[in-house]
Structure formats: C-alpha cells, structure tokens
C-alpha cells in the first residue's frame, strides 16, 4: 500500500531528518559520556522538540489523510487548552470557552471536506460574530470586550493558524508535483524550526542590538540578519526538493517564513510577559509547551499558505 500523502521526495526528506536526529541523539550521548561537564541543555531541548514534531508528522504522512487532519486538530486542542489555562477569565465565561473548543472539530471538518471558503471565513468571520452573542446571552456584560477579544485571539492563533498546516498537508498533488501537500508542510516546518534555532544560537553568540528592547526575548538585529539569510539560503535548497516554487519565489518564501516567525515569537513572548508567565523550559512549568514551540509556526503557517495562494 502506497501512503496517499507521501511522494518519494517527502519520504527521502523525512528519512534524512530521522537519520540526522538519531545521529544527533547518539552524538549528544557520546559527548556527555566523554565530558559530563559540558552544558548540553539547549541542544538537548531542540533534539527533544524535533523528535516530538517529527514522529507524529511522519506517522501522519505515512498513513492517511484522515489521521493527519486528526493529528493537527489534536495539536490545536492542546494549544488552545494551554492558552485558556494562562489567560485570566471570568467565571461566567466557562460556556463561551466550551463553544470555543467546539470550533476545532468544525474547522477541521471543512478541511476534510475540502471546503476552502468555509475554512477561510469560519473563525475570522462566523465565530467572530457568534461568540460575543454567547457572552451577551449569559448576561455578564462588564468585561465583554476583553473576554471576546482574548478568546478570538486564541482561536485565530491556535485553531485558525495551525489548521493551515493541515490544509496544506491534504492539498491534492496537482498543486505540488514535487512533494504534494506534505512537501509544503515539511518545507514550512523545517524552515520555521531551523529559523528558530538560528535565532537562539546567534542571539546569544553574536547579538548586541535588541530588536524588541521592551521584550524579554533574545532577538537581536545581528541574529535577525544571520538567521534570515540562513533561512532564505535553506529555502532555496529545500524548495527544489519539496515545492514547485521558482528561485525568486523561494527567496520570498524564505523571507516570509523567517520574518513571520520572528513576529509570531515576539508576540507570544509579549503575551506571556503581559500575563507574568516565566519563559523557561524547566520540567515543572509545562503549561505552555506547545505554545512555546509553535508560537512562530502559528504565524508563519497562514502567511505561507496565502503566499502560496497568491503566487
């Protein structure tokens, strides 16, 4: 049985990532064995994150369209739950939040049905109009704007944003003879995550001038130049393998993904800073595990999606 979503290029890419990850994991173990005093917490963090991203993704791509959609719906659910657990809410909003959770199966149903118009307008238009009605029906008016604003923001990022990955994944192969929908998704996730890593490394190593001085984020102009150029370069390489984009288009796509990722990351850091949540990766605070790792992807997924749509 040939998997419905996987083209040879996608399988090769997935195979190489798995191989590189295994290599990274083994070499981390060896380095630790040789010199236990070297601090490997940053690479270890990224290696773990990559395993968590790649294994479900590989399973989804290798099995079926339905399972892939379910996987991303589940990711949306976990991300929305994290979001609702960190924002201040009012007691009377419980039912509104329940409705907000219900948008997840509906949004992913449009994807399963390939109903593009509903997929695009459901959360930004329909839910935007209906959710405040639920709040008004409950009757607690003081705080209405704040509640509806916060909930809509969460839905736009965690449900609408992430669902674009699922829509890309199940695109018919005619849009992308090189890799199919899975090719687009792999391309986007690879560039996005590598861009994040490039920022984390260069921000520490060469950065001085902070891009967002009021944020506790490590984004610097030097890091921005380095990471964005790296992402554009990788975009040129990977687009040949995974997408039908021309050279100019892949440079633009690299810029969209690189800069969009920075914005997404900065906005999520700002949100957490506003709510007084510490940004750390200790085992004890696992509140925002998915939000932390997908913050930039929630922005780049729709950006990249509509970029493809207009090119």
């Amino acid at each position: 049985m040939r998997p419905e979503l996987a083209s040879p290029n996608v399988l090769w890419t997935l195979g190489s990532i798995l191989f590189l990850l295994a290599l990274a994991t083994v070499s981390k173990k060896i380095v630790q064995r040789i010199n236990p005093r070297i601090d490997l917490s940053l690479p270890a963090h990224y290696i773990n994150t990559w395993w968590i991203i790649v294994i479900p993704l590989a399973l989804a791509i290798a099995t079926s369209k339905g399972l892939s959609i379910l996987l991303f719906a589940f990711v949306s659910f976990m991300a929305l739950k994290e979001f609702f657990s960190i924002i201040p809410i009012r007691r009377t909003d419980r039912r509104v939040l329940f409705w907000a959770y219900l948008t997840i199966p509906i949004q992913y149903y449009w994807i399963a049905k390939n109903w593009f118009e509903m997929f695009v307008i459901f959360i930004p238009v329909i839910v935007f109009l209906i959710l405040p009605v639920r709040v008004i029906l409950i009757g607690n008016i003081s705080g209405l704007v704040k509640t509806t604003g916060v909930i809509q923001w969460g839905l736009m990022t965690t449900v609408f944003g992430i669902s674009h990955l699922a829509y890309l994944l199940v695109l018919p192969p005619k849009y992308n003879p090189n890799g199919g929908g899975a090719g687009f998704v792999l391309y986007l996730i690879l560039l996005n995550q590598l861009n994040d890593i490039a920022h984390a490394i260069s921000g520490k190593a060469i950065g001085h001038l902070s891009v967002f001085p009021n944020l506790r984020s490590q984004k610097t102009y030097e890091g921005l130049v380095f990471a964005t150029s790296l992402t554009v370069f990788l975009s040129l390489l990977l687009s040949q393998l995974l997408t039908p984009l021309t050279h100019i288009e892949s440079v633009l796509a690299g810029l969209v993904i690189g800069l969009g990722g920075v914005i997404g990351d900065a906005i999520m850091s700002g949100l957490k800073q506003d709510l007084g949540i510490k940004q750390n990766n200790t085992n004890e605070q696992m509140y925002t595990r998915i939000l932390d790792n997908m913050d930039s992807l929630m922005y780049t997924a729709p950006l990249f999606f509509y970029f493809l749509k207009i090119t």
């Binding site: 659910f77 976990m78 739950k81 994290e82 609702f84 657990s85 960190i86 924002i87 201040p88 809410i89 009012r90 007691r91 419980r94 039912r95 939040l97 329940f98 959770y101 709510l275 007084g276 004890e284 605070q285 696992m286 509140y287």
Partner: protein, 214 residues
C-alpha cells in the same frame, strides 16, 4: 467483576481524561507516598479532584487507594452508591453523628489504615465555592491522633473548580496544578495540628501563580 470494571474505568476513561483532556502540572511528585498507610489531605473544589489524585498514583496501588466520601451524598441512591463504593472505592463517612448512637464514625477509616491503604481526605468537608479554600473541619485531627505513625501528605489542587465546579455538568478543559507538600504528623494537640495543616496548605497554594478568575 467490579474490580475489573474499576481498573477499566481508570485505565480507559479516567487516565485519558485527566492526562490528555485536562493535563496536569505536578510539583514535587516525589513526595507522594509509594506505599500505604498514608493519608492524602487535599482541598476540594470538584468531583474530579478524586479522579486526579488517584491518577497521580501508579496503577498497582489502585486497589489500596480509598477516597473518604460523605455517606449522605454518595450513598443516596443505589446506582450512585454502587459506583462510589465499587468503582471509585470510597470509604463512606457519616457527617452527622446521631446523638443516640455510640458508633465511632471513624471506625472504617482506622480499619483501612491498619490494612495499609492510602486514604484521600478532604478536610473542607464539601466542594464549596469554586477555587476558594474553606476552613478545615477537625475530623482529620482525630484520625491523626489515633494514628500518629501514619504520614499525612498535604496536596493543593488548582484548576479543577474551573473545569467542573459544584452544580455544573458541563466540563471545560483547563490544565490543572497539583502541588504536593512535605509529610506532616500529629503535633500533640488538635489546635497545633490544624494550624500546621492549614498553614502548609496556604504555603502550597502560594507556590503556584494562577491567572485571575473573577
């Protein structure tokens, strides 16, 4: 038969619901007792509290875990009392002792501790207002005095009052916090013990920062 159902209920329904549907953030898990006898003392906001606390323990301890529940509430009809006694495994306690009877309401609790069970006890006595800590009733002090060698483990739970508060049937998922405290024991007097218990609980609640819920 009901033992099998109990395991099935916890493996197939409770664990997925608590760990995936909600999600737990456990602080100091290593302080949980690995064997009985012990008493888990927790604040009480939701029926889910008991399910969450049981989920914290490995399955092999399931047969030893006995939540203490009010008889007038959980034994009020046949189905509920079958479910409470056989599936959840509660020890019923009679909140209002009839003046005529000589029977000590804590007999079953003592028996369970002597068998080496891990009890779950809610000294607030009721779920009360969601996410508000109420004053503790002194029943726990009597148990501690009778069994001074049994470790008492205070556990503070936050979030389940948002998920499923008293009087609500609609479950809304949130990630919940569980903070496990250091063991405490009988302090020599009822007052000292109760003070120790409530101050420990307040310290545990202070350890986590949670978003406003007004």
């Amino acid at each position: 038969m009901s033992t099998v159902l109990r395991y099935l209920f916890f493996i197939c329904i409770v664990k997925p619901l608590v760990l995936i549907g909600l999600g737990l953030n456990v602080y100091n898990r290593q302080r949980l007792p690995s064997k009985g006898p012990a008493i888990i003392v927790a604040n009480h906001n939701s029926h889910l509290d008991t399910l969450v606390l049981i989920t914290l323990f490995p399955l092999k301890l399931l047969k030893n875990i006995r939540p203490v529940g009010a008889a007038d509430y959980f034994l009020r009809n046949r189905f509920l009392s079958w479910f409470a006694l056989k599936i959840i495994g509660i020890i019923p306690i009679y909140r209002e002792v009839c003046p005529g009877t000589k029977k000590n309401p804590l007999t079953h609790i003592s028996a369970a501790l002597e068998r080496g069970d891990i009890l779950i006890f809610y000294p607030e006595g009721t779920r009360g207002q969601p996410e508000k800590l109420q004053s503790f009733k002194t029943g726990i002090a009597h148990i501690a005095k009778r069994h001074p060698q049994v470790p008492i483990v205070p556990v503070f739970i936050h979030g389940l009052g948002k998920v499923l508060p008293k009087g609500e049937a609609l479950l809304v998922p949130f990630i919940c916090d569980v903070v496990v405290g250091e063991h405490i024991r009988w302090e020599g007097s009822k007052e000292a013990f109760m003070n120790k218990l409530s101050s420990t609980m307040k310290e545990l609640a202070f350890k986590i920062s949670f978003p406003a819920w007004e």
